[in-house]
């Protein structure tokens, strides 16, 4: 138990092109989360709306969505840390409750990436890097993660096949997640023979864009027990940032911000990696999951490859990771991603994850990264 619990979770299906407005997209996750509790819209003290604004046509979407969800006249505001926006929303929501300002706070993450063309979206995604000193060289997100992969291969002997095994695992679970955008099986040689995007990363090492929404409802301890039979407690929160330009990074074999955020979250929860029973990590690229194994302490630096080779991150392994298919299979609607990761872990801790259910997990961890290790949020939850 802790001071703040998650009492409701919801997620839309993640799809290639959503045939509705962002209001309707947000409503799908919202309805699912609200339906889990006895809450009425007037009971929500404040809402935090999370997305990456470069994909939105609607300016200042917070007020527009809050009205559509029936959450006015309560306060609402917009929060952005690119791909980790909705995890940061949880950190801010926690503090609004812990401070005594509100009893119940709602975090709504969304992204309709198909709102703009894919060429526009590639270009805008690139602008999440250093536009003065890196973008003039023609960089793209996959190239930055690819440079991390190359450095990891060189220092530790990790291989393209090790990364491909991560994609094969993601596809194994994507098939049983009815909200995932990619639900087909993927064979090892299919990954290895896919088009090269940026050496050594290939098409199947990369997650897909998607449209989607996620919703989390947080409540103060004394309210939580009335609102749900199975409150899931926020035990640890860690967040950190790092230099945007690769020239400011002391190493490319891991993400320093993830290590710092993990340290903070584990300290707050008074536990360590060995206590975690199930985890969701930010696998926007296969190499990102490999680095997460090591940055979080599930493996020593350089030994993440043994976790995947031995299938220890599968459902029945030592530490099940991304058994909902991860970003690689679910798709990555930027602002909705963190909330979706948290939802999966909440369902696991409640024992409601269906075919994806891990055996009796008590502690769950969520690793959500913004940009190429620009922001990191680590959340630790307990049943």
């Amino acid at each position: 138990m802790s001071d703040v619990a998650i009492v409701g979770v919801g997620q839309s299906a993640f799809v290639r092109g959503y045939g509705g407005s962002i209001r309707e997209l947000a409503f799908e996750a919202y309805r699912e989360a609200m339906t889990e509790t006895q809450l009425k819209p007037k009971d929500i003290g404040a809402s935090i709306i999370c997305s990456a604004p470069e994909y939105d046509k609607q300016r200042t979407p917070a007020g527009v969505l809050a009205e559509y969800l029936g959450l006015i006249p309560q306060p609402t505001f917009y929060l952005e840390s690119v791909c980790s926006s909705s995890s940061m929303g949880v950190k801010v929501g926690y503090s609004l409750i812990k401070s005594g300002l509100h009893d119940v706070v709602l975090i709504l993450g969304f992204q309709k990436m198909s709102e703009i063309t894919s060429a526009e979206s590639q270009e805008r995604m690139g602008r999440g890097a250093d536009i003065i000193w890196e973008s003039p060289f023609g960089t793209m997100m996959p190239a930055y993660y690819a440079m991390h992969a190359r450095a990891h291969f060189d220092k530790y002997g990790t291989t393209e096949e090790d990364l491909a095994l991560i994609r094969v695992k993601a596809a194994t679970y994507g098939q049983i997640n009815e909200k995932a955008v990619y639900r087909k099986e993927v064979a090892l040689d299919q990954v290895l023979s896919s088009d090269v995007v940026s050496t050594p990363l290939k098409r199947f090492d990369c997650c897909a864009n998607a449209d989607g929404s996620s919703c989390l409802i947080l409540a103060r301890q004394d309210r939580a027990r009335d609102l749900t039979k199975k409150p899931i407690w926020i035990l640890g929160l860690g967040a950190a940032s790092a230099p945007v330009n690769m020239a400011g990074r002391d190493s490319l074999t891991g993400l320093k911000c993830a290590r710092e955020a993990a340290k903070e979250a584990f300290e707050m929860a008074r536990m360590g990696a060995q206590d975690v029973d199930v985890a969701e990590v930010h696998d926007c690229f296969t190499i990102a999951e490999m680095m997460a194994y090591e940055d979080l302490g599930f493996a020593k630096p350089g030994e993440g490859k043994y976790l995947i080779r031995d299938k220890e991150t599968y459902k029945d392994g030592k530490i099940p990771i991304n058994v909902d298919g991860g970003l690689l299979s679910k798709g990555h609607p930027i602002g909705a991603t963190g909330g979706s990761q948290l939802r999966t872990v909440v369902l696991q801790l409640r024992g409601e994850a269906g075919k994806m259910q891990v055996k009796n997990p008590r502690i769950g961890l969520i690793h959500n990264i913004g940009g190429v290790g620009l922001y990191a949020n680590i959340t630790i939850l307990g049943g």
Partner: protein, 137 residues
């Protein structure tokens, strides 16, 4: 000379360190160093976040650096398609200074290896644009 001439496509035209471009045209790739506390910055900065001073000197990135990592792109953002394939790279010159840029196309892909020695050198681009690239010593 304006900062909008930097790189294949530039996304911003104004910075107080636009002398960087002038120095490129003189054959120098330069960072800035704080006169008050000696902190060295690459890419160059107009302000020191260590001591809050804005009294900066230029210094040139000289000598041999070491390749930290690289990746060769098969797809490019809008405006860079004609450059494909090209190789993004990070090179470390000393404890303080690392430089992000591209490897020269004169370096064959089979000759690229992490740890290899590289120099950084200004390069003129079409349409009166200018950048820098990494070349073999």
């Amino acid at each position: 000379m304006g900062f909008e001439k930097f790189g294949t496509v530039s996304f911003t035209s104004q910075t107080k360190v636009d002398e960087f471009v002038e120095r490129l045209s003189q054959g120098k790739v330069s960072g800035t160093k704080c006169k008050k506390c000696d902190a060295a910055y690459f890419p160059p900065r107009a302000d020191c976040c260590g001591c809050l001073s804005s009294d900066m000197d230029w210094f040139d990135v000289v000598g041999t650096g070491r390749l930290i990592s690289y990746s060769t792109l098969s797809y490019a953002p809008t405006g860079f398609e004609e450059d494909l394939p090209y190789t993004a790279a990070l090179v470390r010159f000393n404890d303080d200074i690392q430089v992000f840029g591209r490897l020269s196309k004169a370096i064959k892909s089979e000759d690229i290896a992490l740890g290899m020695d590289l120099l950084v050198s200004p390069v003129k681009l079409p349409c009166d644009r200018i950048s820098y690239e990494f070349v073999r010593p």
